[in-house]
């Protein structure tokens, strides 16, 4: 077990290093460069000044050299300076991360609960009416464009009904807990709806697989009612693969968060990454992307560990 964790952590560190190098290079290929942006705001800059600036920022050095510099600084916690926010990257990043955590965790919990209940319900009687309705709902969930779902929610609940605010995290001059919750309702609902579809399909498939197994059939033959069988035998065994899928998907939720946060103007990680890429804020974009990778890697690691913990038959090597 200890060896397994050690190996997986080492692998993850290597993947992170490779990723950071690739993303560093990609960011370098984005339009413009930092010096161009600086001289744009200072028309009097002479070529000598530009060259001097390049030397100061190390932009005249080969790429691998610059990457090494960046990496050495990043190791000490110095992720550079955000151009747009005029603040150190970490100070922009952390509040955004916190905001995203609120959104992601709430919608994640909501969709896990809903998908477990309706997935099990669907598996109870395959091809029954409930199963067909739930399947249709699940397919809708995986097929709907998230941004359009958000748009429709805004159209109905903000523009037409005025139930919830269309954007932001709190009203100006307010900011109480209730006000924040009101602002989170729609983003959470959108993200939860989008994720519940896929999750439900996994739960249903896994439940069906488990219900086919001999020990469940034995329990049924002994006269245990369907709900009893599901609760005492089905769940624990069916949820093992599902937990892995949940954990694996936690990282990919970032994509959904990006869209949702952009649509509802929530200052979270997703919107921050998008804005920084579009606004040529190189340091912030780089750090944001790497953070997103890190979250995915950590959730993968968590998935593996959860798998071994839930199923005692699996020995992790």
């Amino acid at each position: 077990m200890g060896r397994f964790i050690l190996r997986r952590v080492t692998q993850s560190v290597i993947v992170m290093l490779v990723m950071s190098f690739i993303i560093y290079n990609l960011i370098g290929l984005m339009p413009g460069d930092p010096i161009d942006l600086m001289i744009a705001s200072n028309p009097g800059a002479t070529p000598e000044v530009v060259a001097h600036l390049r030397a100061i920022y190390g932009l005249d050095q080969p790429l691998i050299f610059r990457y090494w510099h960046w990496l050495a600084a990043a190791m000490t916690g110095d992720l550079g300076f955000s151009r747009v926010h005029s603040q150190p990257v970490l100070e922009v990043l952390l509040p955004a991360l916190w905001q995203t955590c609120k959104l992601l965790l709430t919608s994640f919990v909501v969709s896990v609960i809903i998908s477990t209940v309706i997935g099990a319900l669907a598996a109870l009687r395959p091809n029954g009416i409930a199963d067909n309705i739930i399947s249709l709902f699940a397919f809708a969930g995986i097929s709907v464009p998230v941004f359009w779902l958000a748009l429709m929610m805004i159209l109905v609940f903000a523009v037409q009904l005025h139930w919830f605010p269309a954007s932001g995290i709190s009203d100006v001059g307010n900011g109480s807990f209730g006000d924040q919750v009101r602002h989170l309702v729609m983003p959470v609902t959108v993200l939860a709806l989008a994720n519940t579809g896929g999750f439900t399909r996994y739960v249903r498939a896994s439940m069906l697989e488990t219900m086919r197994m001999d020990f469940v059939r034995t329990a049924r033959a002994k006269g245990a009612g369907p709900w009893r069988v599901v609760v005492t035998h089905g769940f624990r065994n069916a949820l093992i693969p599902v937990v892995t899928v949940w954990a694996l998907n936690f990282g990919t939720l970032f994509g959904g968060a990006l869209v949702t946060e952009t649509m509802f103007a929530q200052p979270g990680m997703g919107k921050m990454i998008y804005d920084s890429i579009m606004g040529n804020d190189f340091n912030l974009a780089l750090s944001g992307l790497l953070f997103a990778c890190l979250v995915t890697l950590l959730s993968n690691l968590g998935a593996d560990l959860a798998y071994g913990w839930l199923d005692p038959r699996i020995t992790l090597k």
Partner: protein, 321 residues
């Protein structure tokens, strides 16, 4: 008679991982250990043993599907080098145990049978088709089978198709890996008779791999017995059936029902299960199960030597009969 194929001190090891940076203990499985024998032209040699004794691995080595870890193969008296591989690939063909896995479900029978010719680029397309038609009849299937697909045939019919494929390049040796054990008893004898007929007509050699001595009884010329990857006895059929020399062979034969004999209880002779090839016992590998075992058996491994007064019958035992 001249030697068709020789197997010379062949050993096959599987590296089961481990070692390396995070690995833990390195584990090596010895599937075949220092095995030597030869097959003459037109000879049928049976390779028998329990499952897991390495007989299939040895079969894949002979068929050229696996390189031995050490040791060499001889083909027609010469070492089997890379240049000779092509000829050997044509002259040595395979028939497998599971007729459902042996035929590509997406290919019509005519393509299946002519495949070895296609791979070896032998003949024209028309001549290959003609050859397939000829073979399909020889193995006792209707000619209209050619355009059908494997799922339309039963297990026995599929095994006939597999045999036809093996015959296509006019081979000298067919390695048959338990070709009967997946079939019903009534069909087993049909296939066995077909194989015997073909062998006599074409003077084929067979390396017939089986776990059951009774099945091969009237097809084979010689029998080689494998235990835990080691050759423990090799002898002409009559001799091995009349007077098996190695205690393991004796136990195997005792388990074979024969007319006029009662099937002896296996437990009387032989105890326990075959040990793991990952961790073979020291000395003679058979000693933990052997009724004759003495202290010498735990210390030194016996060599394969002629049985008393029977120069053709070789056995690896300190106390051979």
């Amino acid at each position: 008679m001249s030697e068709l194929l020789g197997v010379d001190h062949v050993t096959v090891r599987f590296d089961l991982g481990g070692g390396g940076l995070f690995g833990g203990k390195k584990r090596v499985l010895q599937a075949v250990v220092d095995v030597s024998f030869s097959i003459e032209e037109g000879e049928v040699l049976a390779l028998v043993g329990e499952s897991g004794c390495g007989k299939s691995t040895l079969g894949t080595v002979v068929a050229g599907l696996r390189e031995p870890t050490s040791g060499t193969l001889r083909f027609r008296g010469k070492p089997l080098t890379a240049e000779m591989r092509r000829e050997a690939q044509r002259s040595i063909q395979l028939v497998f145990q599971d007729p459902f896995s042996a035929l590509d479900p997406r290919m019509p029978v005519s393509s299946i049978i002519s495949e070895p010719l296609r791979i070896q680029k032998l003949g024209s397309q028309a001549s290959r088709r003609a050859r397939a038609a000829e073979l399909v009849e020889q193995v006792g299937l209707p000619v209209d089978s050619l355009n059908r697909y494997p799922h339309e045939f039963s297990g026995g019919q599929r095994q006939r198709i597999a045999i036809a494929r093996a015959l296509a390049p006019d081979p000298k040796l067919i390695v048959a890996d338990e070709p009967l054990s997946a079939l019903d008893v009534s069909i087993q004898s049909q296939i066995l008779n077909l194989m015997k007929e073909l062998q006599e007509q074409r003077r084929l050699s067979y390396l017939f791999i089986s776990h059951d001595l009774a099945v091969v009884n009237h097809l084979v010329d010689r029998v080689a017995v494998l235990y835990l990857g080691r050759l423990v006895e090799i002898a002409p059929r009559e001799e091995i059936f009349r007077r098996p020399s190695h205690p393991y062979t004796q136990a195997l034969l005792a388990a074979v029902p024969r007319i006029g004999h009662f099937r002896e209880r296996r437990a009387k002779n032989i105890r326990g299960e075959m040990p793991s090839p990952l961790n073979p016992p020291p000395g003679c590998v058979f000693h933990p199960r052997c009724p004759k075992a003495q202290s010498i058996c735990r210390e030194s491994a016996p060599l394969l030597e002629p049985a008393p007064e029977r120069p053709q019958q070789l056995a690896a035992c300190h106390f051979k009969d």
